[in-house]
Symmetry: C2
Subunit: 350 residues, 2 copies
């Protein structure tokens, strides 16, 4: 029964149901194994056979059933995104990026927030991965920094990609390095160039790799130009708005106020704005402020906030793309570099 690209080909398929590999094989006059080879891009198919079958598949709108394929492969067509606690915009951007990579690939994105502070969250991720037979997992900060989590995935034989602030060794997974240090270096350069010397720093929790990188990048750059930041002007906060408020209150209570503050993220910078506004301290006339994230908040504040942009969507696209690529390329490292977006929150010191 040879295939014919006739209007009635579709009618040969049981109506009301989607075509199966058997329908395609029958209509094309080949075995289902040959159709399977074409679905899986095997080179062991004659060119004209492939073209004939592909045309038929297009004609009837055939797509293989991911459940059946998954069962036979012992692996689903699902990509998991594992994350804990970051800001909403960051998560949504990361999801959009991942979906950019997965679009029309036959893979879908399954979201899995977790709480890395609970002792057994790794078991939760393990059950998720094992039960769904995930094809791969994206690890987003801060979960991505947990080596035990990565080790568990390696042991399960589940491929994963890690988004990390700084590059390091991992034999099993792929790294996407966001180079947070460089963003902080740029922020420091900018403030120095404006002429600031009395500079303060509000950091995220120093148990976070991102906070460490941003802090060191910032302080090292100042030190290189001979600017020391006294201990009292380095405040470890927690990446939240409220902690930014508290940090700013502490800084403003000192005998001499800094002329510029670098904040480890925009949320904390918004806290600084609030305290400054309340205290009648004018930004940027009396005080310059730089944030990190370039979140929507940055342009909603007034004056709009100078901040480091992270290209989160690109990061997500790369991380997800690395999981579905068929070439079993060597475990490479990809880089996404931040850069400073200058707005209206800084000027030379008074």
């Amino acid at each position: 029964m040879p295939a014919r690209k006739s209007p009635d080909t579709a009618s040969r398929i049981p109506s009301g149901k989607a075509a199966t590999i058997n329908d395609i094989a029958r209509l094309a006059g080949v075995s289902k194994k040959t159709v399977s080879r074409i679905i899986n891009n095997s080179p062991l198919v004659r060119k004209d056979t492939r073209e004939k079958v592909e045309a038929l598949m297009r004609e009837v709108g055939y797509t293989p059933d991911p459940l059946a394929r998954g069962l036979a492969f012992r692996r689903s067509f699902l990509i998991g995104m594992v994350y804990d606690n970051p800001t909403a915009q960051y998560i949504v951007d990361m999801q959009y990026g991942a979906l950019d990579a997965l679009r029309d690939s036959g893979f879908e994105l399954v979201v899995h927030p977790c709480d890395s502070r609970t002792p057994n969250y790794i078991d939760g991720v393990r059950r998720f991965v094992q039960q769904q037979k995930l094809h791969g997992v994206m690890l987003v900060p801060r979960a991505s920094e947990d080596q035990k989590l990565a080790d568990m995935l390696a042991e399960l034989g589940c491929r994963y990609s890690r988004i990390v602030p700084v590059g390091f060794e991992d034999n099993d997974g792929r790294m996407i390095v966001t180079h947070d240090r460089e963003g902080a270096v740029e922020a420091a350069d900018y403030l120095l160039t404006l002429g600031h010397r009395d500079i303060a720093l509000i950091t995220g929790p120093l148990t976070y790799r991102s906070a460490i990188e941003r802090t060191n990048g910032f302080l090292d750059t100042l030190a290189q130009r001979g600017v020391e930041v006294p201990k009292a002007r380095i405040i470890e906060a927690s990446y939240t708005f409220e902690s930014g408020v508290a940090a700013a209150e502490k800084l403003f209570a000192a005998r001499q106020r800094p002329t510029a503050i670098f904040c480890g993220n925009d949320e904390m910078a918004a806290g600084v704005y609030k305290v400054a506004l309340r205290a009648g301290i004018s930004i940027p006339r009396d005080l310059s402020v730089v944030g990190y994230d370039d979140s929507p908040l940055a342009s909603r504040l007034w004056p709009s906030l100078t901040s480091v942009r992270r290209h989160t969507r690109d990061t997500g696209r790369i991380a997800a793309g690395a999981l579905i690529r068929t070439d079993t390329a060597p475990l490479a490292v990809a880089s996404v570099r931040p850069h400073l977006i200058v707005r209206d929150s800084c000027q030379p010191p008074p």
Copy 2:
């Protein structure tokens, strides 16, 4: 081969692989069909048989393979979340809510943002639903307002739940009504009680049901108390920060400024803040502002913004829960009611 709860039971299962229904049946000394009945909560199983098998399943940590079940059922264990364009915090909250309902249910959440302004987005959703054989779909505003989308799902026989600003008829899907009108009524009552009479309104696009409900609820309440809002003080904007800025500029350019502004969401209220701050108009001394959403932005602005809270996470939990409930209950309507969170952005008129 009777089941024994002995330490070596697990060793009867091929090492390195997860247990299957066949392992359970063999170790329990029953047929796989009986195990299947237990998995699916069939009443046609003797109590002691059920208990024996369930104990064994717990002992070996057996969970049925969703791919195999999905293939046999012709339906996956995936819930799709379809949405277009709302704010990040809203989407993330909705996802958290849905995941609350799906936790430990065996179902997973697959995210599917779309763009309802493109003509063929419904086809995209259709492919998504058909190809993945979704168990159900959550429709989030504004996509949830599109009757054609709902009709397509009904035609496919895919169950769905719709989150909508106001209740209406739908024979196929379940409704979760967020009663946006009530939130706006509360905002109007509050401003009237403070003594405002010169009131302006910045609405979302009036093609959005949410914008219509909020607008009508607000204006009707004012009218009932004899307060008319002149046309020039009702500005249709687009739920964005920038559109809020433009609307505020227009309102402030009038001969007489309103003493209070109700904004259809917090983003636009942030735009009003920006213009007021730049123009030296003091909030709340010269101008009272009320938002809608109670987004994180509301407490980050200074003075913190009085806004209508939506209980988005609860909404998501109900919408997802309705899709996985086994009781084929009548298609009911659930309600989530908003309420005003009073902060520091309002006071009696000058």
